[in-house]
Structures are given as C-alpha cells and as structure tokens.
C-alpha cells in the first residue's frame, strides 16, 4: 500500500491483480454488460491510484476501494443508462455435462435475475450487490455507501421485494 502510494507501479500492479476480479464483478453486477464493466473497473483503479496518497488507513483498503468503485458506477448511471446484455453461456454450460435444456432454463433464469438487478434503483442495487455477492457485513456496506446500518438493511429488504415482484411479473 505504502509503496503504491509512493508511486511504485509494481506495487500498484500487485494491488490491481489482488482486487481486479472483485472490482470487475461489482461493476458487472451493477451495469449488466462486460464492456461497461471493464471500462468502469479500469476507471475505478485509475481513481484509486490517483487518490492513494489521501488514503489514511482509517478504513480497510477493500472498503475504500469498494467505495470508489460504487461511486464510479453511480456516476456512470447518472450520465448514461447501462444496457444489459444477456450472456450466451449455453456452450460453456453444455460442456459441463449438464443437459442442454436444463442449462438453458438455468441460464434464462439467471439472466432474468441479472436484468432485474440492473433495473433496481442505484442505492438498492449497490446494497444488494455488496451484501448478496460480496458478502460484506452491513456496517461495512454502510461505510461504503455513506449511510446507516438501518438504512442499508431497509434498502436490502426493499431490493429483495422489488426483485421478487419483478421476477413474478416475468
């Protein structure tokens, strides 16, 4: 961390390698398409590099990085509505030995859930992703989103409610 903050690119590369999957997945869950997710993940690391000198260490590095990533995603939502692109993973699933019809049904269901998540309001979406996929405790999510634990739990509850309704409508 200190070496990265001092401008050591090799040290920063190690940080990138360590956290790139988490950051990319967060972005992908947020926007629902690989192109935007890749661009946003890159942008999050660029911002993190430029802000490393201001990282005081009062929060965990991952909390700080998640916060930057969520802000990058929220800023993108404010300027551009992401386009959800269904993934075509059937070939990959077929290769796993699963029956093709079962695989297609499972993938269709997954795509419905992904699409429903992308339609959630930004804060509910961020809360759901950080809790359900990144398994972060509520207090850490509250720090990332700059909100209270109660508000985070309420957002999570409403996000699940919206998803339930959205999936039932399909």
């Amino acid at each position: 961390m200190r070496a990265s903050a001092a401008g050591d690119r090799g040290a920063f590369d190690i940080l990138v390698a360590r956290h790139q999957r988490q950051v990319y997945r967060l972005c992908y869950r947020f926007v629902g398409n690989p192109e935007d997710a890749s661009e946003l993940a890159q942008d999050a690391f660029v911002r993190a590099y430029r802000a490393l000198g201001r990282f005081r260490g009062s929060a965990r590095f991952t909390t700080w990085l998640h916060r930057i990533t969520v802000n990058v995603c929220l800023n993108r939502l404010a300027s551009k509505r992401p386009v959800h692109e269904p993934l075509l993973e059937v070939e990959r699933a077929a290769g796993s030995g699963e029956a093709a019809d079962v695989a297609i049904l499972r993938l269709e269901r997954a795509e419905c859930v992904r699409a429903a998540i992308v339609r959630l309001p930004p804060k509910q979406r961020a809360t759901l992703i950080l809790r359900a996929y990144h398994d972060l405790p509520y207090d850490e999510i509250a720090r990332i989103l700059g909100s209270s634990v109660g508000a985070v739990k309420a957002n999570f509850f409403h996000a699940l409610g919206s998803l339930k309704k959205s999936l039932a409508d399909q």
Partner: protein, 201 residues
C-alpha cells in the same frame, strides 16, 4: 409481540434471527410467509453465478490500467474553456441578481440598508420554514420563473436529488474560477462590471 420489522425479516431470512424472533415466527404465519418470500428472492439472487471475462482479459488488465494512468488528461477544447468561464460568469450574475433582489436598498453594511420586506401575502408572524434567514421580497417571490423552480423542487427529497445524479459539488464555481486564464478573468470582471452598471446595483 408485534410483527417483524423489515430489518428483522431480512435478518431472519439470512439466518440471523435471535430466540425472540424465532419464538414469534413459530406462532405467526404472516411473518413466516414474509420471511419465506424474502428468502426465496435472496436464493434467486445468490444462485446467479459471476460472469467473469476470459483469462486473457486479466493478463492485460493491469497494463490497461497503467496505460490509462499514464494517458494525458483529455485537453479541454477552446469551446469547453469558454463554456466553463461563461458558466461561472452566469452563476455569478444570477447570484448578484438575487442579491440585488433581496437587498434593493443596497448591500449589507450599507448605511441605507433597510429591513428585508416580508413575503407578500404572508401575514406577520406566519411560520417561517427557515427562521433566522432573510425572506425574499415580493419582486422575486412573484417572479414566474422562480415559481416554476419552487414548484419543481418542492417535492424533492435530498436522497431523490442524489439518486438522480444531481450531486452538490461545493467549490465547483471556485474551481472553475481558478482555471480561468488572466484574459478570461479580465473578461469576467468586465462582464460583471457591465452587468452591475446595467442593473444599477
């Protein structure tokens, strides 16, 4: 015991319920149903696997990040520069206009300063939503454009505004002003002085 709150429903769906909650659930079908629905939605969410890109993507990712860090900041076009200082000038002029509307007799501290007029139509002693702050005088309160802005913003909550991406950016005007070239600053001063002369403020 009352029915479970939303937070308690979430806790229970995630398996974090304490004994008191469990005891209530055993006797309350309505809460059990809510927990079951929430748990089903949570299961649907967590069953969706991550969609990672190919291994090749990760091999090049750090290099792309480094290239983006090294890339020069996009140069501001001539038009963007002009728009930035014109925006700053417009904001300053609006601020001055509002100040002139609120202090028709002069600027604060001026010996001819008179107490601010109360809003037309408001009876003396009417409740002031912002006690301790000066009230707008009638000339602005009656302004049609101001009424439209008030009408549109009246029902907005702070969270709605944040979620819409209209983020408050304290200091952005100051930042824009610091980015002006000496020529642009001189032009801004000239514009403000012209406007002050024109309005007689």
């Amino acid at each position: 015991m009352h029915h479970l709150t939303d937070e308690q429903i979430v806790d229970t769906a995630e398996g974090l319920a304490d004994r008191a909650l469990s005891a209530h659930l055993s006797g309350c079908a309505a809460c059990r149903a809510r927990v079951a629905e929430t748990r089903a939605a949570l299961d649907a969410v967590t069953s969706v696997p991550a969609a990672d890109p190919s291994p090749l993507f990760w091999e090049h990712f750090a290099a792309r990040v480094n290239a983006a860090i090294d890339a020069p900041a996009p140069a501001r076009s001539w038009l963007a520069g002009r728009l930035a200082w014109l925006g700053a000038a417009a904001i300053l002029l609006i601020t001055l206009g509002l100040a002139a509307a609120r202090w028709p007799a002069g600027l604060p501290g001026h010996e001819t300063l008179t107490p601010l007029a109360t809003t037309q139509g408001s009876p003396p002693g009417a409740s002031d939503p912002f006690p301790g702050t000066p009230r707008l005088d009638g000339s602005l309160e009656d302004d049609a454009a101001w009424a439209v802005v008030q009408g549109m913003a009246g029902d907005l909550s702070y969270d709605d505004v944040l979620e819409a991406g209209v983020l408050p950016r304290p200091g952005s005007i100051e930042r824009a002003a610091t980015e002006l070239s000496p020529e642009e600053r001189a032009e801004l001063v000239r514009l403000i002085q012209d406007e002050l002369k024109r309005t007689g403020a």
